[in-house]
């Protein structure tokens, strides 16, 4: 059996166990889905206040901003469902020595530590988010070509990879600092900054958000979907995402070298 399918199979088993533990609380699950839907309506209604005074902000109409808000909820949902629960546990892994135990498993340690847990409560958020994005596209009155859809898929994939890379980087930091609860707020802030298209801010904020690279999370995928992406970004985005993942993996290995273990 080759490495990839084995890794996928083991992760699937981890996820099934995590999901089984949480679907016990069915009412809680539906309550959380309802709350996620409420926050999306809240965000859309909140953004509508700007458009009481103008038809478009920095060239983005209200419908087009909805596309971005939907993508924001998609990525934020992925962060909360897949990344945050693992990052939260990192402090305990290091403090209690659980990390020693995880490192001895015959499995890639980075994948195991970063993807082992899921939080079911937010697993539907990406679906809700993409629904809002679809509504935004329809309301904007533009058709979506197959090429645009493919470009969108590619850029959204890059956005997810970027988010993953940031989480691994924060986990590496957690090994050194033993304070992952606070580090979780960094990834929260990173995603939160992508709630609106970066063009909605003026310089220098806009330039900073492009470099940081918040623009790659929601602004560029939305631009691709709306058919007004700079084509050269189709080359830059994968390069940035791949670079971030490589950098984060290096940082992770580096941090393990300084890790002395905490179990007896």
């Amino acid at each position: 059996m080759n490495g990839w399918s084995r890794h996928a199979r083991v992760l699937a088993i981890c996820w099934r166990a995590a999901v089984a533990g949480e679907v016990e609380y069915r009412f809680n699950f539906f309550s959380n889905v309802a709350l996620s839907a409420f926050w999306m309506v809240w965000a859309a209604a909140g953004a509508s206040v700007y458009f009481r005074f103008t038809g478009a902000v920095a060239g983005w109409t209200q419908a087009e901003v909805l596309v971005v808000i939907g993508l924001f909820f998609t990525l934020n949902g992925l962060r909360q469902a897949l990344l945050q629960p693992n990052l939260e546990r990192m402090t305990d892994y290091v403090r209690l020595g659980t990390l020693d135990f995880l490192l001895t498993k015959p499995f890639d340690a980075q994948l195991l530590v970063s993807l082992r847990q899921v939080r079911v409560n937010n697993l539907l958020d990406p679906v809700l988010g993409l629904a809002l994005t679809t509504v935004g596209v329809v309301l904007s009155g533009r058709g979506v070509s197959v090429v645009a859809l493919a470009a969108f898929g590619l850029l959204l994939g890059c956005a997810v990879l970027l988010l993953y890379a940031l989480t691994v980087l924060l986990m590496a930091l957690a090994v050194v600092l033993v304070a992952a609860e606070e580090l979780g707020r960094v990834s929260y802030a990173f995603v939160e900054l992508s709630r609106f298209p970066v063009e909605l801010y003026r310089n220098p904020v806009q330039a900073i958000l492009t470099v940081v690279p918040v623009a790659f999370l929601t602004t560029y995928p939305a631009a691709a979907l709306l058919g007004r992406l700079d084509p050269y970004l189709l080359l830059i985005a994968p390069a940035v995402a791949a670079g971030a993942v490589v950098l984060a993996s290096l940082a992770w290995r580096r941090s393990l070298r300084s890790y002395a273990g905490a179990s007896a």
Binding site: F27, S31, L35, Y50, T54, L193, Y201
Partner: protein, 266 residues
């Protein structure tokens, strides 16, 4: 009552010391308290492109959101999470054994943390008002005293409203979601989503009699000098009315709720 009041200073002081010990945590939560500034950023673009909406200039938005950020970080509604966690874990049992009512234990703990925030945020706001062109408050001694009173009222109302809400935990495990729904709806009436002056008229006329504005928009508008004496007096009256209403509500719900409390652990 005398006993409770004598307990306040030492309890608040100990919470202040805890907050000051974890300075990094305070710094990080201040850094991530930037959300209102994002909303401001979009308004600044709107002003630059299509002119000041309803006469609100760049300076007005800067002044509004700088003060709103302060208010947001000074809100007393964080106690909801503490109540929720303690009811679930059973730590509330320990608090019930102490001679001071749990409400005061949570209140003093939160107050201590807010005081540490205050020592960072108020100088930052003063500095911003001095350095940033356009960001300006027509401050006189009378207005500053009025704003200070409004700040105390804002904190008290948000604390009591959140504490009353937290008591839902005696009946349901969904306190935090119920609170978020309540807060989310209220944020349209508090001046959080946007300054109330820029909201539709019907929403504004409802908002001035709801408790949410007392906790956020009212002190900010007062500081910016946008309220005349009559409007200011009305704002205080609404705030004090809600304060009394929540105090009564809290007592009633507490009396019924605490009888249902079954400790989970301790």
């Amino acid at each position: 009552m005398r006993d409770v009041l004598t307990a306040y200073p030492p309890l608040v002081r100990s919470a202040t010391l805890v907050a000051a010990t974890y300075r990094g945590r305070v710094a990080l939560s201040l850094l991530t308290g930037f959300f209102p500034l994002l909303l401001m950023g979009v308004w600044l673009t709107v002003v630059a492109e299509s002119g000041p909406p309803k006469g609100w200039t760049t300076g007005d938005f800067l002044s509004y959101y700088a003060a709103a950020t302060l208010l947001w970080n000074l809100s007393g509604d964080h106690v909801v999470w503490q109540w929720d966690a303690d009811m679930r874990s059973g730590d509330l049992s320990v608090r019930l054994l102490r001679p001071v009512h749990p409400f005061h234990q949570y209140a003093t703990n939160d107050l201590g943390h807010r005081l540490v925030f205050l020592t960072v945020l108020v100088p930052a706001l003063v500095l911003a008002a001095l350095l940033v062109p356009g960001l300006d408050y027509p401050a006189g001694p009378v207005r500053l005293a009025a704003v200070a009173a409004a700040l105390v009222l804002a904190y008290a109302v948000s604390l009591l409203m959140a504490s009353t809400f937290a008591l839902i935990g005696f009946w349901s495990t969904q306190t935090s979601n119920a609170w978020l729904l309540w807060w989310g709806l209220g944020s349209f009436a508090s001046g959080w989503v946007a300054p109330l002056a820029l909201m539709p008229d019907w929403l504004r006329s409802v908002a001035v009699v709801l408790p949410f504005r007392t906790a956020m928009g009212f002190p900010v508008e007062l500081l910016m000098g946008r309220l005349d004496a009559r409007e200011a007096a009305f704002g205080y009256a609404v705030g004090l009315g809600w304060l009394a209403a929540f105090a009564v509500l809290y007592r009633i719900i507490w009396r019924h709720g605490v009888r249902r409390y079954q400790a989970v652990a301790g």
